[in-house]
């Protein structure tokens, strides 16, 4: 009897602590929100097509390729494969990395995910691409896995919006690393980042943050479909 009661109590505690989001809930949130925000963006004049809506178009394209979504006609085409970064300068980021480690005191430099994604995509000098593959991305993976919800604080410190933006972009980066190298560990870490972000992003957050999170989710779900996981 006492064992059963202890079992019930511990199972209840486990359910309370559960931070992974069921597939159905995540996909339903993703699809309904991409649709809702695209409606919102589409209602504006062409000249006023918001930059955050590019993320949604990318998400839509991925979901459509994965067979999870019917792509809409007549919306502006998106060029490039990485979300737009205002003022992102790869050379400056690499220069900043010359005399420092990627992760210091539990913090990463601003723009790390975007810079590493560009290196992963083949940009930048060969020695930087080698460092990205052999040192920076493995260190980032380990950092996220060990620090979990406390991972990816920014240096210099950032607002919660900036920090979540970096986390969402790191999730996108991880999915792309998984796809490029066939390494499931990166998809695993991206899924955790996206789960931890769910509770924050489903609340009223700035639309550009919500759009980037939806893109991260779309990247994840498209790869899961492609790999039949």
């Amino acid at each position: 009897m006492i064992h059963r009661f202890a079992g019930w109590l511990l199972e209840a505690a486990a359910r309370m602590l559960e931070d992974s989001i069921p597939e159905e809930r995540l996909r339903s949130f993703l699809i309904s929100d991409v649709g809702r925000l695209l409606d919102q963006a589409g209602g504006q004049a062409d000249a006023a097509w918001p930059t955050w809506a590019d993320d949604l178009r990318m998400a839509e394209r991925l979901l459509s390729e994965a067979g999870l979504w019917q792509a809409r006609e007549g919306l502006p085409e998106v060029t490039g494969s990485w979300p737009r970064q205002e003022g992102m300068d790869l050379e400056r980021w690499l220069e900043g990395m010359r005399n420092t480690r990627l992760i210091e005191a539990g913090c990463v430099p601003r723009g790390t995910a975007a810079a590493l994604a560009r290196l992963l995509g083949g940009e930048g000098p060969p020695d930087a691409r080698k460092a990205m593959q052999e040192r920076w991305l493995p260190a980032l993976l380990r950092h996220v896995e060990l620090k979990r919800r406390e991972a990816l604080r920014l240096r210099p410190s950032g607002t919660p919006l900036e920090t979540w933006m970096e986390r969402d972009e790191t999730a996108i980066l991880f999915v792309r690393a998984a796809k490029t190298w066939g390494d499931l560990r990166y998809l695993n870490a991206a899924m955790k980042l996206n789960d931890w972000g769910y509770a924050v992003h489903r609340r009223a957050v700035p639309v550009q943050l919500r759009a980037r999170y939806l893109l991260a989710l779309a990247e994840q779900e498209a790869l899961i479909e492609a790999w039949e996981l």
């Binding site: 064992h3 202890a6 079992g7 511990l10 199972e11 505690a13 486990a14 359910r15 309370m16 602590l17 559960e18 931070d19 992974s20 597939e23 993976l141 380990r142 896995e145 979990r148 499931l184 560990r185 998809l187 695993n188 870490a189 899924m191 955790k192 789960d195 899961i224 996981l229």
Partner: protein, 268 residues
């Protein structure tokens, strides 16, 4: 005579009890002591909770509340079956130690000064680790031969956590699942390898059943390793960092995918 000290994560660990039983009967081996890590420490609980999340609650339930009751009584591959065969069912490590006159201490942390003193006083040749967290460099350096651990994965390829699931997910055909006996070093499963034993999934098995069978084999691999070291037949083989990858706690959705993949592999 080889002097062995056993490290145990709890006072009722099935694995530690079976290892103790096997080593205590082994000619040429003296179990010089047993060190039991205390269960409760808020700091450790916080760390484990951060790493394992809700799984920790289920682990506590299975290991500490259910213990031997967590296993099917007729499962001849399980640790409980082997314990029952040895007449050790329901006995704590302390009780087994008392009955055999083996020194036994309880500590909050296996890296404490008390453990250091205990190992030094016993002129320990070998520590057999059956769980209880990370072991620091100063403790690793004390036993003449080292600290031995049995990892539930094939090294050097599969280091870290949940490697049964990872090996199945990554398998093209037959998954590379099994056990590796190795000396511990400050890295994660990167120490010199002593022995490997493939434990491949069998028809009809799920992940839990495969793990139960692996657990059942672990004490016997430890015994084989101790014998090999005692006779000088085993030579540790160094690992290179690039020979393997470190894996982390698997996401529940990927765990389900591994379960499906296992069923598909066994069904094909």
């Amino acid at each position: 005579m080889m002097r062995v000290v056993l490290f145990s994560p709890t006072g009722k660990s099935l694995y530690a009890r079976m290892v103790l039983h096997l080593l205590a009967q082994e000619p040429g081996v003296e179990v010089a002591g047993v060190v039991i890590r205390g269960i409760w420490s808020w700091r450790r609980l916080r760390g484990d909770l951060r790493r394992d999340g809700p799984r920790l609650m289920r682990k506590i339930y299975a290991k500490l509340v259910l213990g031997e009751r967590a296993y099917a009584p007729q499962d001849t591959d399980s640790l409980v079956w082997h314990l029952r065969e040895a007449g050790l069912e329901g006995q704590s490590l302390k009780r087994i130690c008392r009955a055999r006159g083996i020194a036994c201490i309880s500590v909050r942390d296996l890296n404490s000064a008390k453990v250091e003193t205990f190992l030094k006083a016993r002129e320990t040749d070998l520590v057999v680790f059956t769980g209880g967290g990370l072991i620091r460099r100063k403790i690793l350096a004390l036993p003449r031969l080292g600290v031995m651990n049995c990892h539930a994965g094939i090294l050097p390829r599969y280091r870290g956590m949940d490697v049964v699931e990872w090996a199945i997910l990554e398998a093209q055909a037959e998954p590379e699942t099994g056990l590796t006996l190795h000396f511990m070093d400050p890295g994660v499963d990167t120490g010199p390898i002593l022995l490997r034993e493939p434990v491949r999934p069998r028809a009809g098995e799920d992940l839990a059943r495969l793990r139960t069978r692996m657990e059942g084999r672990m004490p016997f691999l430890v015994l084989e390793g101790v014998r090999g070291l005692k006779d000088g037949r085993l030579q540790p083989i160094m690992q290179e960092p690039e020979d393997g990858r470190q894996y982390f706690v698997i996401h529940p959705r990927l765990r389900c995918a591994a379960e499906r993949r296992l069923a598909a592999i066994l069904g094909s």
